[in-house]
Amino acid sequence: MAETIEQIANQEYKYGFVTDIESDVAPPGLNEDIIRLISAKKGEPEWLLEWRLKSLRHWLTMQEPTWANVKFNKIDYQAIRYYSAPKQKKTLNSLDEVDPELRRTFEKLGISLGEQKRLSGVAVDAVFDSVSVATTFRAELAKLGIIFCSFSDAVREHPDLVRKYVGSVVPYTDNFFATLNSAVFTDGSFCYIPKGVRCPMELSTYFRINSAGTGQFERTLIIADEGAYVSYLEGCTAPMRDENQLHAAVVELVALDGATIKYSTVQNWYPGDKEGKGGIYNFVTKRGKAFKNSKISWTQVETGSAITWKYPSCILQGDNSVGEFYSVALTNNHQQADTGSKMIHIGKNTRSTIVSKGISAGHGQQTYRGAVKILKSAEDARNYSQCDSLLLGDKCGAHTFPYIEVRNPTAKMEHEASTSKIGEDQLFYCQQRGISAEDAVSMIVNGFCREVFRELPMEFAVEAQKLLGVSLEGSVG
């Protein structure tokens, strides 16, 4: 079976085209001048420039972390271009003004920036290289008081909100990549749902890296005010390139009293070729802060990137707050992933759930790294963690590092873990009934991921299933 499984891994990455578009780029390198340039290009207020500079100075004192179970060549941070924007008129009055070449790109990705999206009820913000290109449904959402726009627009139009919350969940000193992001971030999405408002549609951001030699450093900030509800989805793709490109994003979620934020990711950055050449380094910091009676739920389907380093986390600060993490991560060929979640219980009666499903095929290496901390103040906290690995073939690997720290004896903790292999016997059983090995694998993998897929919004669940099928094609013959 080993050889049959190898064969499935031979799927072309279908989002690997490059868009030929003129862009406005900064020279490679990182120093205070570059930061000033980015800030000036974006017409930012002084406080934000100061914050960036503070971050850069701090970053210069930091070391790239080495604790993650991933291997890669040293990144030359001075060789990266920290700003690249598609050239177009400064302000857009309507979507029709978006560069047609750009529009075609998004159409190829199956993302319509036009009104068709109304039918599926999804509002989209599209980020191309470093800059947000267009946000749909802004006006409609605004009627409810919902702000959904690019981060840059938010800085201009809602500086108080941005200033109050940016860095409040992931401080600029947090970690090497988050600090780098704080210094150089160029755009991202911003979202604010006012008190008591239930956002009537899925909000969604599509990120695309296009230019060569650029990094993408976007920053997303979502604030759900008291009693508000929002469901948010992000999708990511990139062209095929021989060199590795760095993606170091920061996502901050703030769920105020009684609010609910559901954040779903379908990550399909270019994973590199079969020999492990090229691909995106996806080093991302995602964290949410949950106040009283609120709930933050992360769902992720990670199939892309050469290396993934990411631990969407919840700080359960308020009493009765709830944190959830549902994850499917797939590593094929030479992909590596070190991912998991951190749940920090501070408030009383806080609850968290971690369900992690890792699938490894080819030479894929995958590590689950999870931390659950119950602080002294967290009376009657509960955590349930489940961490399952599925191996296809015998050249891949799965590793599990659950860290648990309990400072309050009333805590109830449950941890389950399993590792299984798609066995020769299972494949034979399916084939003996007439089902091809490829369909059999996709059936077994989808069955394995069911608990996570059902957390995704309906249409994205279907997309995610297809994506897994595509990513595994060639690992069984």
């Binding site: 084939q431 003996q432 009934r433 091809s436 077994i444």
Partner: protein, 253 residues
């Protein structure tokens, strides 16, 4: 229907079948008996195309085609069904979904329209009755947590739905209680027609009294050493295998 000639086959480099001949005509039910380790499951798995089993010599023709040249799933789609001695569990995959995928793969192969969920359910319900399986089983994962007997009944249920031309039952009767045995036999008898052939591997006369085979063969040391009618099974039940082995040894001398 099935013509096996001088079949030499084995597993992981070890030869188990040393020149086996067998002819199964259309509509016939053949029983294969024989001591433990004699190669019965090996024969079944070789016919079904299980990986790790390999053929070193001989031929198998199935409906005029070279069976050994067909990939595993193709054999299944052409109507070869193996009810396994140890049915496999597939966690997370719904039983009914699995079987629908299987049936539709077979139908597609024959250029027939695939059944939609409603049509399939109707067919499945009907067959479920035949094997007296509760509908609750259908919504569980394939064989997961099924008792030994339930797994065997599920095999017969799948067979009933897929309607194979050549059904191979590898000790489907072992581990069954009396009622289940009757049900399994009923499932096989319902399949019986001029177009369906059955190869039943068993250690016990009991199943054969419900099934009544047209032929009984004894497999020992990788060869068919004796063939006869249903009386042979009765004789074996009484006398065991030793006498045959002795006769064979004497004949060889």
């Amino acid at each position: 229907m099935l013509e096996i000639k001088n079949l030499h086959a084995g597993i992981d480099g070890k030869e188990i079948l040393h020149g086996l001949d067998l002819h199964v005509g259309s509509g016939e039910v053949h029983a294969i008996m024989g001591p433990n380790g004699s190669g019965k499951s090996t024969l079944a798995n070789v016919l079904a195309g299980r990986p790790r089993y390999h053929v070193t010599a001989g031929s198998v023709s199935y409906e005029g085609k070279d069976l050994l040249a067909l990939p595993t799933e193709e054999r299944a789609r052409e109507g070869v069904f193996l009810a396994m001695q140890y049915p496999v569990e597939i966690p997370g995959v719904n039983n009914i979904y699995f079987l629908k995928a299987a049936l539709n793969a077979v139908r597609k192969h024959h250029g027939e329209e695939e059944l939609d969920a409603m049509e399939f359910l109707q067919l499945a319900r009907q067959k479920m009755k035949l094997v007296e399986l509760d509908e609750a089983f259908m919504n569980r994962a394939v064989n997961e947590g099924f008792s030994g007997g339930e797994k065997k009944r599920n095999e017969i249920f799948q067979m009933a739905v897929l309607d194979p031309k050549l059904a191979i039952l590898d000790e489907t009767d072992s581990g069954l209680d009396i009622d289940a045995l009757r049900i399994v036999a009923g499932g096989v008898n319902a399949l019986r027609s001029e177009k369906h052939s059955v190869l039943v591997i068993t250690h016990y006369q009991r199943l054969l009294s419900y099934l009544v085979p047209d032929f009984v063969h004894v497999l020992a040391n990788g060869r068919i050493v004796r063939s006869g009618g249903k009386e042979l099974a009765e004789e074996l039940e009484q006398k065991g295998y030793e006498w045959i082995e002795q006769e064979v040894a004497a004949g060889a001398r």
